[in-house]
């Protein structure tokens, strides 16, 4: 019914090709689980997110627990807490938890959308160079003092990197997942080298620590102004993206099939990729490049709730939010009163999970 490698240079083969067990494509797209299962997973994730968010408000080096957090938020100025203690909960912990949730949701959603659009289970904002491009844009603004707003520079960097990746993959001939990955790798390395050069050249003394924390991805600097970028970006770009599952499901059967279903393939693909770059750029501009969230969480959700994009997108967003809230709380409390960049935590959890994923597929062959 669909051709795996359509002759059109601007088409991708199906998602099943790269890592699927040979001769068992059904394993990649199992019989769709009952709709109720997706609802169940969604409800569990939503409850988990709410619980994790509330818990994160009650832990931290300052030792303000449940009671103090409640007092700080519910009855500010009542006199039972000092103004400074109230500010710790209201202006440090709360915006940080909200920013973590928004960034986690945005990155996981971007990953899920890119994986579906490129039919490439290895794709994520990192792999296609979006994160490195956004970093380069942001680092340039931060260190060279270019007169551009940070999220705009990050978006421009992400967009340029993605365009370069796809153009390069296209120039190699038919765009296959392998070519996309290799092109993304080249662009990502180039952007990373350029960003490192800017950092290396301008950072002095021990100020490199600051930049390193930023490049590793950190939410330590999150304030209400970070939340004011991350949450609206999620609402304006992320939420519409979540409802594109039906279109992405049409894509999963190949460009020809999608066209037959009435989807204007190139226009939709570029619109969705542009939206993803915008979302990634906004998130990277507040948190730095946090790795593995976009790659790993959509896979985790697929294991739990099936591969249908209609449920995958909202569930990935919820799972990403939950994951990053937990990871960031670990980053700021495990070594209390020291902090580590949250990107270290996500890589420590994400990389082994990714290896497991690869091994599971191999052993199934």
């Amino acid at each position: 019914m669909w051709k795996p490698y359509a002759p059109s240079p601007n088409s991708w083969p199906p998602l099943t090709d790269t890592l699927a067990r040979p001769g068992a494509p059904a394993a990649e797209r199992p019989a769709r689980p009952p709709r109720s299962r997706a609802w169940l997973v969604g409800a569990a994730l939503a409850v988990g997110l709410l619980a994790a968010g509330l818990w994160a408000l009650t832990v931290g080096p300052a030792g303000l627990g449940v009671k103090e957090a409640w007092l700080a938020l519910a009855s500010p100025g009542s006199g039972s807490l000092t103004p400074l203690q109230e500010a710790i909960v209201r202006d440090l912990r709360l915006p940080r938890v909200l920013t973590a949730a928004a960034v986690g949701a945005g990155l996981a959603l971007s990953g899920a959308v890119i994986q579906a659009l490129t039919r490439n289970p290895l794709a994520d904002p990192y792999l296609l160079g979006l994160s490195s491009g956004a970093s380069l844009g942001a680092v340039t603004v931060l260190l060279l003092g270019a007169a551009v707003v940070l999220p705009v520079a990050a978006f421009a960097g992400a967009m340029l990197a993605m365009a370069a990746t796809l153009a390069l993959a296209g120039a190699l001939g038919c765009i296959t997942p392998t070519r996309t990955v290799l092109a993304g790798l080249a662009v990502s390395s180039l952007a990373a080298a350029a960003a490192s050069f800017v950092v290396f050249w301008t950072a002095q003394g021990d100020s490199y620590r600051e930049v390193l924390g930023w490049l590793m991805g950190s939410l330590a600097g999150a304030t209400w102004s970070s939340t004011a970028i991350a949450l609206p970006a999620l609402a304006a770009v992320g939420i519409p993206l979540m409802f594109c599952g039906r279109i992405l499901d049409a894509f999963s059967f190949g460009d020809t099939a999608a066209s037959a279903l009435g989807v204007p393939v190139p226009a939709v693909r570029w619109t969705l990729l542009g939206a993803t770059a915008l979302l990634t750029g906004a998130m990277v501009s507040v948190s730095g490049s946090i790795g593995f969230v976009g790659l790993v969480l959509p896979h985790a959700v697929r294991m739990l709730a099936g591969a249908s994009s209609r449920s995958l997108l909202p569930l990935s967003a919820l799972a990403g939010a939950l994951f990053l809230v937990l990871a960031d709380t670990a980053a700021r409390t495990v070594f209390d009163p020291r902090e580590i960049p949250v990107g270290i935590v996500t890589a420590l959890i994400g990389a082994p999970f990714f290896i497991l994923l690869l091994l599971r597929r191999r052993s199934g062959a």
């Binding site: 400074l84 710790i88 440090l92 792999l127 003394g205 021990d206 790795g291």
Partner: protein, 340 residues
């Protein structure tokens, strides 16, 4: 910056470094033989001239051996430059690098040493000056992509030295750092540079000055804010900042962490709400920048010390273990007295 796949620049780099190292070693082995042989008669001649030489010492776990006091010295970071200037050995400096700030007025009378590099110089640029010793402020300055590994430099006939107060290895790192460690470092440098007499005089004068200072009796708590904006990098419990704060009568809010400096959290700072904040002034992190970070931060702007502008200022070069520590204690006590 961390692509999730193994084929990254980080993956390739060790191999490239290893290859370059091999090239460097094989390429330089022949060249380094000749100067060493040429120098040996001279070295034996100076043996008789200089008491205390040949000298061998265990420096942060690296064996340093010198046949005669070094005559051509490259200094990296201000602490090492200033130590030589304080010992009256400024004319032996053939190049300085990675300075943390301008040379203090006290020493501007002596010849101003030539500047080799603004940042950490490369090994080759150092070797071009044909030094007999490289004196660095941090052990980490001696890295393959910095001034060169210490063993490599030794093979090339260039000795390397780090002030013992700056050693990082367990068993070498002074923990906690005391003024005795600082003074012992000055005395050891005196022996190394063949200026033991000048070092002894300097230490005697500094001890007397330190004893004459009276620490603030107010028991003020303090944050030592060294750098950083998202994650503050602060003076911790066992290095030079801890020593300087304690000597000035300040109680360090981060004293529980056994390190010289540490990444800290704003939440912990807010919880402690310190009486004063020590701002470390450097070319890359000016006092103005740090004040701006504190005053624009939604929570830090509410700290008592920030609202009342209870700031103390210390130049970065004087905040690491070295000849300016006593001066820093004096400055801190004077600034504290001026707050009241």
């Amino acid at each position: 910056m961390t692509p999730p796949f193994p084929v990254s620049s980080g993956f390739l780099r060790p191999a490239a470094v290893a290859a370059l190292t091999v090239l460097a070693l094989t390429g330089c082995a022949g060249a380094s033989q000749d100067p060493a042989q040429a120098q040996s008669p001279e070295a034996t001649a100076s043996n008789t001239a200089d008491p205390g030489f040949p000298l061998e010492l265990d420096n942060c776990g690296t064996e340093v051996s010198l046949d005669a006091p070094p005559e051509r010295v490259v200094t990296i970071k201000s602490t090492s430059t200033e130590l030589l200037l304080a010992l009256g050995l400024g004319e032996k400096i053939v190049g300085t690098a990675f300075s943390d700030g301008p040379v203090p007025d006290a020493w501007t009378g002596s010849p101003v040493p030539p500047v080799l590099a603004e940042k950490v110089p490369s090994r080759e640029s150092i070797l071009a000056l044909a030094p007999d010793l490289v004196f660095a402020g941090w052990e980490s300055n001696f890295s393959a992509d910095g001034a060169g590994e210490r063993a490599q430099l030794a093979d090339l006939g260039v000795a390397s030295y780090v002030s013992p107060a700056a050693c990082m290895e367990d068993g070498y790192r002074p923990s906690p750092l005391t003024f005795d460690d600082v003074f012992a470092s000055i005395e050891e440098a005196g022996e190394l540079f063949g200026a033991a007499g000048a070092a002894a005089e300097l230490v005697e004068a500094q001890r007397a000055e330190l004893e004459a200072l009276s620490p603030s009796g107010k028991g003020y708590s303090a944050l030592w804010y060294s750098s950083g904006s998202d994650t503050p990098y602060v003076g911790a419990g066992s290095g030079a900042p801890a020593l300087l704060m304690e000597s000035a009568g300040l109680e360090n809010i981060a004293s529980g962490i056994d390190a010289g400096w540490t990444p800290y959290s704003w939440e912990a700072v807010a919880e402690a709400d310190p009486d004063v904040i020590v701002l470390v002034d450097s070319a890359w992190g000016s006092v103005e920048k740090k004040k701006a970070v504190l005053e624009s931060h939604p929570v830090m702007s509410q700290l008592r010390a920030v609202r009342d502008a209870h700031y103390l200022v210390v130049p970065f070069a004087a905040s690491e273990a070295g000849v300016r520590n006593v001066e820093t204690v004096r400055s801190l006590t004077e600034q504290l007295a001026a707050l009241d």
